[in-house]
């Protein structure tokens, strides 16, 4: 039977890469001397699977290399060898090496053997093997001439209970050549003592075959301990006691390893799929690109989708049935009900489809243990990494784009934030610094915090630098927040020497720009000597949002529902005027600045009287503001479309959408709107109103 093994390659690569990720994560958890067996076992299993698969699918370079890994892991697992940090380092390097080898194979190219050879030599040194030992390749000598063997086979009574079946073995023997069979029934007891589950028969075979004795040996391999077996060559070569001869005959002994496929066999199997694959290099390249655009979805999500499509189909069937009937009052009512059901189904379906794009942030977090370990080693710093909220989900596209900015921030914290153990001890801190990555949902956003307990931002140094770079002048009086903001200015870097770790010419300004491109924001808060926290805020998804449609003059705008705190009619008695033209509403114990949308957006014809319009109180960046609108319309989910793609960025607008009637409606960007209104000083978190709050109370 010919089976094209290459059809299993993709799955093999996918699971192998996953296995390597698991190995890496578990290795990073290992501490020499306090390893727990389950961790070692997990690592072993991953290596074992990769070895098994690569051997089976003909990737001998990978299976050979994994073999030494597995041997070492096996010894550690059995307690025959103590785990050392050298082992962990070597194993981690091997993970990288295997990843590279598998990627090469996945792209139909030959993996670079030099790295794996080097590592393999190190493993062999640890294991006390000489690398030449491997080449005990067995050359099984096939006997070309036909010979006749006498085979005595007396199964033990329990043979059936091992699941073996003498009949099939005899069948196998018969396939090797001419077979004469004698059966001995003398062991069958009297009926009363007969146990139907036991085997009472014994056989003597005369097999004339050109196959080597190993072929016979193989047939009885599984029952060696469950039967008396003797194989003798008729003609007197094997005159010894048969049982002995199997064990000691040099020919049999030598031939034994050929039970394993010889290297020739394996390469032959490997070449076929490889040759085939070469022919389709272009296609493979394409599939490689596809790999990064594919998505793994939990089966539960798919199941819920299928359920919903099922409901949709039922609703559709019901509606089309109604459509065939004459319209009466009752059918109209049923039709309306059906349409409501359809709307419900569609909404559920949409939500589920969107959920498919949501992945836990652990996909991004998982790369950090290794990164932190490598960098802190390089910097001679001791850092403990804490990951919190790994199950927090966010859109796959957002996730892919947030990874690099996060790496940059983490590098930055390790390089500039966390001090060396000596400095930390001198400062009375734990020599081991802590870096925490925390993710959680807040409203319609995902918040990612990168916290270190290092030295904090050096305000003085930042100021000096900014003055030197001409960003500010000596006389500028800046608040702590404003100083912190400086690090996000283009071309700003305080590292005295450009370091290998974070001074790569990519500044914080790029980090901020990349995050802003995702409609997100990044801020830093810091306390000298205590640590810094970078806070990234991102929309959960770039594609869809729940919106509140509002009317301003003849225009319809959409306010993200998630940022709406409440909507209310204004009690003019509670409104005070601050400064020239800012109205502030006292709402319970808060002061809400009133932003007149028509004014900010320059629309004529809107209701200007406060008591005749409505106020939508929204929250953005922890600040509440009220948006003055003419009226509230429907709430609905809207698909976000880019206004920028064919036009340009519009202040106060985050995107556009198409309403049910085909019209375009614009989505309000609250944070941008607040800036646009001039309510917030550029670079400051504080609303101007806060400073004036005293005056109005």
């Amino acid at each position: 039977m010919s089976i094209d093994l290459s059809q299993f390659f993709e799955v093999f690569f996918e699971e192998s890469f996953e296995g390597l990720d698991v190995m890496e994560a578990e290795l990073l958890n290992l501490r020499p001397g306090e390893e727990d067996s389950e961790t070692i076992n997990t690592i072993f299993r991953a290596a074992h699977s990769i070895k098994g698969g690569s051997g089976t699918f003909g990737f001998t370079s990978v299976s050979d290399f994994t073999h030494v890994l597995e041997t070492l892991l096996d010894q550690i697992r059995d307690g025959r060898r103590k785990l050392t940090s050298e082992h962990i380092n070597l194993l981690l390097q091997s993970v990288d090496c295997l990843r590279a080898m598998l990627s090469a194979l996945q792209n139909q190219s030959e993996p670079d053997a030099s790295e794996s050879q080097k590592l393999k030599a190190q493993f062999e040194r640890i294991l006390g093997l000489s690398s030449s030992e491997e080449q005990a390749s067995a050359t099984a000598q096939a006997a070309p001439e036909k010979q006749t063997y006498q085979i005595d086979f007396k199964p033990h009574a329990h043979l059936f209970k091992t699941g073996n079946e003498p009949l099939y073995m005899i069948g196998e023997l018969a396939e090797l050549g001419d077979l004469d069979i004698e059966v001995f029934t003398d062991a069958i007891p009297v009926f009363d003592e007969f146990n139907p589950e036991d085997c009472y028969l014994a056989w003597r075979f005369f097999l004339t075959t050109s196959s080597p004795t190993t072929a016979i040996d193989e047939i009885f391999e599984w029952v060696e301990d469950d039967a008396d077996i003797s194989v003798t060559l008729c003609g007197g070569l094997f005159e010894d006691e048969a049982e002995e001869s199997i064990a000691s005959s040099p020919e049999v002994e030598n031939a034994k390893p050929s039970v394993k496929p010889t290297p020739e066999v394996v390469t032959a199997a490997a070449e076929k799929p490889l040759a085939k694959a070469n022919a389709a290099v272009a296609e493979a390249k394409k599939s490689q690109d596809n790999a990064s655009t594919s998505i793994r979805v939990g089966i539960d999500k798919v199941d819920s989708l299928i359920n919903m499509v099922g409901e949709l189909v039922i609703t559709q069937a019901m509606l089309s049935q109604l459509g065939e009937q004459d319209m009466t009052e009752s059918t109209v009512a049923a039709l309306q009900e059906g349409l409501a059901q359809l709307a419900h189904n569609t909404r559920d379906l949409q939500e589920s489809v969107m959920r498919i794009r949501m992945l836990p942030i652990s996909f991004v977090f998982s790369r950090f243990p290794r990164l932190v370990r490598d960098i802190s080693q390089k910097l001679n710093k001791q850092v403990e990494l804490k990951l919190l909220g790994e199950q927090t989900e966010l859109d796959k596209t957002v996730m892919e784009k947030i990874s690099d900015p996060m790496v940059h921030l983490v590098r930055n914290s390790l390089d500039h934030g966390i001090e060396t153990p000596e400095q930390r001890i001198a400062a009375g801190k734990d020599p081991v610094g802590t870096l925490t990555l925390n993710a959680f949902h807040q409203g319609g956003n995902i918040v990612i915090e990168i916290m270190d307990d290092g030295q904090g931002l050096n305000t003085e140094k930042i100021k000096q630098k900014a003055i030197a770079n001409g960003l500010i002048t000596e006389d500028d009086e800046l608040s702590q927040e404003e100083v912190n903001e400086l690090i996000f200015m283009p071309g700003f870097s305080t590292a005295d020497a450009v370091s290998d770790i974070s001074g790569r010419g990519v500044g914080m300004d790029v980090v901020r720009r990349n995050i802003q491109a995702l409609n997100g924001s990044v801020e830093v808060s810091s306390a000298r000597g205590v640590g810094s926290t970078f806070t990234i805020r991102l929309p959960l998804t770039l594609a869809i949002l729940d919106g509140q449609l509002v009317q301003v003059a003849e225009h319809t705008y959409i306010i993200p529902l998630i940022s709406i705190v409440e909507s209310l009619q204004i009690d003019v008695k509670k409104v005070s005027r601050v400064g020239k033209n800012l109205d502030v509403l006292r709402l319970r114990d808060e002061y809400i600045p009133i932003l007149r949308l028509y004014d900010i957006f320059n629309h004529d014809g809107a209701i200007e009287a406060l008591d005749k319009s409505l106020l939508v109180v929204v929250e953005s960046d922890n600040q509440k503001v009220g948006l003055l609108v003419d009226d509230l319309l429907a709430q609905q989910q809207v698909v976000i479309k880019s206004l920028e793609a064919n036009y340009k960025r519009v202040d106060g607008i985050s995107g556009a959408t198409i309403l049910g009637d085909g019209r375009v409606s614009l989505i309000i960007d609250i944070s941008g709107l607040v800036k646009l209104s001039g309510l917030r000083k550029p670079g400051s978190q504080e609303l101007i109103i806060e400073q004036n709050a005293e005056a109005v109370s």
Partner: protein, 164 residues
């Protein structure tokens, strides 16, 4: 207007004119009595005026954005862009949807004109530079002037015109 292009080339062939490879085809439209030409390859479609959603704080020549089969397309009034007095939109008012290549990306935009006129094959060499003395604010958007028979056509530079 792909059909227009095809018709034109068929027309040329029947007349034995053949295709001149140095020539480019221009779609011309009328505005305030003047005839303007744009490279026909950038024209996506021609449609009637439909009301657009206003974009806040946009310049007056940006009439808003429309939904063009799921894409948000801004609409630019060329009269206002060129500082010509606006006229009320009527049944003949058309929107020419053009794809314009900017440095980073290609943008699809609509331009509102008084009416579509014709398609001409024009050799670029024939185009004359805009006379310097023409102090019109719109001269910066013009690639050149060309005579077609008795008429003069203003060849528009869409990149510059629609760089907003």
């Amino acid at each position: 207007m792909q059909t227009g292009t095809a018709l034109q080339s068929e027309f040329n062939q029947r007349l034995g004119l053949g295709e001149d490879h140095d020539e480019k085809q221009y779609l011309t439209f009328l505005m305030a009595g003047e005839e303007y030409g744009v490279d026909i390859l950038s024209v996506q479609e021609i449609r009637g005026w439909t009301s657009a959603t206003a974009i806040p704080n946009a310049p007056d020549f940006v009439k808003g954005a429309i939904n063009l089969r799921g894409t948000i397309v801004p609409i630019i009034d060329l009269r206002l862009r060129f500082g010509i007095d606006p006229i009320a939109y009527g049944p003949l008012t058309v929107v020419i949807v053009v794809a314009v290549e900017f440095k980073e990306q290609t943008k699809t935009m609509g331009i509102v004109v008084d009416g579509v006129s014709d398609v001409y094959s024009i050799s670029e060499e024939k185009a004359k530079d805009v006379p310097d003395f023409q102090e019109s604010s719109s001269s910066q958007y013009v690639d050149g002037l060309v005579n077609v028979g008795e008429k003069m056509v203003v060849l528009l530079n869409l990149q510059k015109t629609l760089q907003i």
